[in-house]
């Protein structure tokens, strides 16, 4: 992994068409501005992780259990 130190207001370029600028820094959070071509998806990593978790473990038994719980045990 390439590690680069940047301050607020500084940026990095990737591949000539993607720019990531550090807009603000706080104690535990960094605000980034991202310029990328429209065809390049920009995604918070946790969305991908959550989708993988959502798809994992979907089984007929899990579906039955979930439906029973959400329908009040009917």
């Amino acid at each position: 992994m390439l590690v680069i130190r940047r301050r607020a207001g500084e940026s990095i370029e990737i591949g000539g068409s993607i720019v990531i600028r550090v807009l603000d820094t706080a104690a535990s959070r960094v605000t980034l501005g991202i310029i990328a071509p429209q065809e390049v998806p920009v995604l918070r990593s946790e969305i991908r992780d959550q989708n993988e978790a959502a798809a994992r473990g979907v089984t007929p038994a899990a579906i039955d259990d979930l439906v029973r719980r959400l329908r009040g045990g009917k």
């Binding site: 959550q50 959400l70 009040g72």
Partner: protein, 149 residues
């Protein structure tokens, strides 16, 4: 009519016109472009998104209104374009939260709902840049009715 042998729902016969096309897939499943929305009386309000390409791939979902009656979001312009739903059609979109089951805990991603346009038969997982909704909204179990288990 095509017949789909699924891992979780057995054999499904469907009309090609029922398929929702996801132009960019779903994050982590970018190669999955076609899903069926399965609604069954016996499982309502839970609905399922079943891939037509991968028999084992299905998502458990709940309509966002089931979790938050006042749910509202602004559909980003790029998602409006992907849905090809036309102007003023936002009200006709189906908004579904993907559910994650982990043991006895069920969470719903209200931050990034899957939007379906019944008119254009297109779908997208919409991920607003900013949102007050949680991506891990706790889904409480309904109370059992008296005389239940």
């Amino acid at each position: 009519m095509p017949v789909l042998e699924t891992t979780n729902f057995g054999s499904l016969t469907y009309e090609p016109s029922e398929v929702y096309y996801f132009p960019v897939g779903i994050p982590a499943f970018e190669d999955e472009h076609q899903f069926l929305l399965l609604e069954q009386d016996t499982t309502r309000p839970v609905m399922f998104l079943q891939s037509t390409k991968t028999p084992s791939l299905a998502f458990l979902t709940l309509p966002v209104a089931e979790l938050d009656a006042g749910y509202a979001m602004e559909v980003p312009p790029q998602d409006q374009a992907l849905l090809a739903a036309g102007e003023g059609s936002a009200r006709s979109l189906i908004a579904l939260a993907l559910l994650t089951v982990s043991g006895q805990t069920v969470t719903a991603n209200l931050r990034a709902p899957v939007l379906l346009s019944p008119g254009s038969r297109r779908g997208v997982q919409s991920i607003p840049a900013e949102s007050d909704y949680s991506s891990q909204h706790l889904v409480p179990p309904r109370r059992q009715e008296s005389g239940g288990r």
